[in-house]
Symmetry: C2
Subunit: 101 residues, 2 copies
């Protein structure tokens, strides 16, 4: 199952690291505890909508952009999962073959 919070955490962490910001800096800016942000980045806690807005503000990134990145990451996982699903093998049924003959 593709979980939103895990990929959201990945996107938020990538964005923060890309900006060269520490957890401590984002924590101070967003007024959210460092431990909580860390858990969100690791996909262990759900972020409330208010907290998500706050984090986006601290990362100076529109929420729409974060969600688009998450959507793209989810789409990749969905495609990978679809590829990994074995295609069911259809066996010819002896009776059907017999009746057709």
């Amino acid at each position: 199952m593709v979980l939103f919070r895990r990929l959201l955490g990945d996107v938020l962490r990538e964005r923060r690291v890309g900006l060269g910001l520490t957890l401590r800096e984002v924590s101070a800016q967003a007024r959210v505890s460092l431990g909580y942000i860390s858990e969100i980045e690791r996909g262990q806690k759900e972020a409330s909508s208010e907290l998500l807005a706050s984090l986006c503000g601290a990362l100076d990134t529109p929420l729409s952009e974060v969600l688009r990145d998450v959507s793209d990451a989810v789409a990749l996982e969905e495609a990978a999962a679809a590829l990994a699903t074995p295609i069911p093998v259809v066996h010819a049924q002896a009776d059907v073959v017999a009746s057709a003959a």
Copy 2:
């Protein structure tokens, strides 16, 4: 503040109504209480990632598609908010004008 849960609720409701499904049908399919789904659609409750995956399954819609629609809706609200923000008026400062003369 643009809240994720409000626009997520809008997207999920539109999708359900577009498919001609009732809350009761989605509730039975997703194994989530009808009242809870209704609150999520109205943006009053946050959906956990597991619940969101379950709802997407019941709506036969990839999570990535739901998130892309939410991202688009959020982008529209962000643009509207940017337009509504008054541009600060810069007043000519008397001393600057005087010193330039």
